[in-house]
Amino acid sequence: MATTEEIRADLAEIVNEVAGIPADDVQLDKSFTDDLDVDSLSMVEVVVAAEEKFGVKIPDDEVKNLKTVGDAVAFIEQAPQA
């Protein structure tokens, strides 16, 4: 099982690829929309890339609860492997 930091680092790479945000800025306390300027369409891209990377399912209804990077990491940590 990957550590919290490993998941954050992998997620940061995805956010960098999709939205061009420097990976080091993608920290647990950062809001996707307010701090990282990830718009709603880019967020869908991040979610789909994360599903593939981590082998989990992130339901559409769940995405609105993933306000911060920490929320996303926590969801991925507890989600069953798809």
Binding site: V18, A19, G20, L41, V44, E45, V48, E51, E52
Partner: protein, 412 residues
């Protein structure tokens, strides 16, 4: 109708001959071809394996994240618009955004985005289809992206008339200014359709040259051995504005856009009227609207794509509309060098027409080894000087669907 004069104050381009206007113009005057053999694997099984790719990949110019959110056709449009905007000298304080529009055409829209997402759907399922697919592939995406780039808030339009689209963009922009709906309009067109499906489909229409072994010799308008057009890609954008607006800000003026003629053949969905009657009416309308006489026209940037029928019909049009002047007008087809950019063609050719007037030199038509005996035109095969004084030129574009657009430009 308002008689507001409309002038060209900025130009930008990315083409098979260069990544901007100066490099493209230099290549045109040097008579270089932008047609190459396609190296992609998918081309191997196609009957036509040649095309005119842009000389400079947009990924070399645009920031990575910006580029990945744009279809290739919008990438070209944004690259061309950035150059045109800088060239015009306009800034966000010298034009009211609510008085600035866009009329930027596409022939086919975001076809490569559409097809790559369909591949993804088939191979990986609906969850992997990009959420950006629709805003990337919609035909008005390039116009909208250019509007976002410069902050244009008047009408943002996308004329779609196949290979006449880019010229129709210019005509529509003139209308917007003359109707008082805008002071400045970014006009032109873009196309990015070099992909297996459009190449196969145009091939099935027997529209493309199969001169695979001599790519640079394949686009040969009016030559007796022409066998079809060569698909090109790229974009052209012109900043046009009311003369009043341009003069008030001390802008450099390249030329005047005098007027346009837009007609339809109502003859066939794909074949041109063999006598070119619709095209002739477009030219006559353009002259009439421009208050120009046939004797004022010293140069024509022809549509001539290197197809057997179309090139012949355009020769007839020039004679039926210009009378005795048809023997004096210097005609060229820059498609001999750039290939045919479909919805981008009228745009880059409008720029070539403006530069011909501005620099008083008509670019050549290459590969005219043996002129078709059915074409009685004075075709420039090397750069040809144009006369001093007040001169005017036409840019012709004709498209599937029977669309005909002629735009008249005049020196200033």
């Amino acid at each position: 109708m308002s008689s507001r004069r409309v002038v060209v104050t900025g130009m930008g381009m990315t083409s098979p001959l260069g990544g901007d206007v100066p490099s493209t113009w230099e290549a045109m005057l040097a008579g270089r071809s932008g047609v190459r053999r396609l190296e992609e694997e998918w081309a191997e099984e196609l009957p036509v394996q040649i095309a005119a790719r842009v000389a400079v990949e947009p990924s070399e110019v645009l920031e990575r994240v910006k580029a990945r959110r744009l279809d290739r056709s919008a990438q070209f449009a944004v690259v061309a618009a950035m150059e045109a905007w800088a060239d015009s000298g306009l800034t966000d304080t010298t034009v009211d955004p609510e008085r600035m529009g866009v009329a930027l055409a596409s022939g086919i829209g975001g076809v490569t985005t559409l097809l790559s997402n369909y591949d993804t759907l088939k191979e990986k399922g609906p969850r992997r289809v990009s959420p950006l697919a629709i805003p990337m592939l919609m035909p008005n995406a390039p116009a909208a992206q250019v509007a976002l780039l410069v902050g244009a808030k008047a009408g943002v339009n996308t004329p779609v008339s196949a290979c006449a689209s880019g010229n129709e963009g210019v005509a529509l922009g003139v209308d917007q200014i003359r109707l008082g709906r805008a002071d400045v309009v970014l006009v032109g067109g873009t196309e990015a359709a070099i992909h297996a499906l459009p190449m196969a489909a145009f091939g099935q229409m027997m529209a493309l040259s199969k001169r695979n072994d001599e790519p640079e010799r394949a686009s040969r308008p009016w030559d007796a051995d022409r066998d079809g057009f060569v698909l090109g890609e790229g974009a052209g954008v012109l900043v046009i504005e009311s003369e009043e607006h341009a003069k008030a800000r001390g802008a450099r003026i390249y030329a005047e856009v005098r007027g346009a003629g837009i007609t339809a053949d109502s003859h066939d969905i794909a074949q041109p009227d063999p006598e070119g009657r619709g095209g002739s009416r477009a030219i006559l309308r353009a002259l009439q609207e421009s208050d120009l006489a046939a004797s004022d026209i010293v140069h024509i940037n022809a549509h001539a794509t290197s197809t057997p029928l179309g090139d012949l019909a355009e020769g007839l049009m020039v004679h039926s509309t210009l009378g005795a002047q048809a023997d004096r007008v210097v005609v060229t087809s820059t498609k001999s060098m750039t290939g045919h950019l479909l919805g981008g063609a009228g745009a880059i050719e409008s720029i070539a027409t403006v530069l011909a007037l501005h620099n008083r030199v008509a670019p050549p038509t290459i590969n005219l080894d043996k002129q078709d005996t059915g074409v009685d035109l004075d075709i420039a095969t090397s750069p040809r000087d144009l006369p001093a004084g007040d001169i005017a030129a036409l840019n012709n574009s004709f498209g599937f669907g029977g669309a005909n657009v002629a735009v008249a430009f005049a020196s200033v």
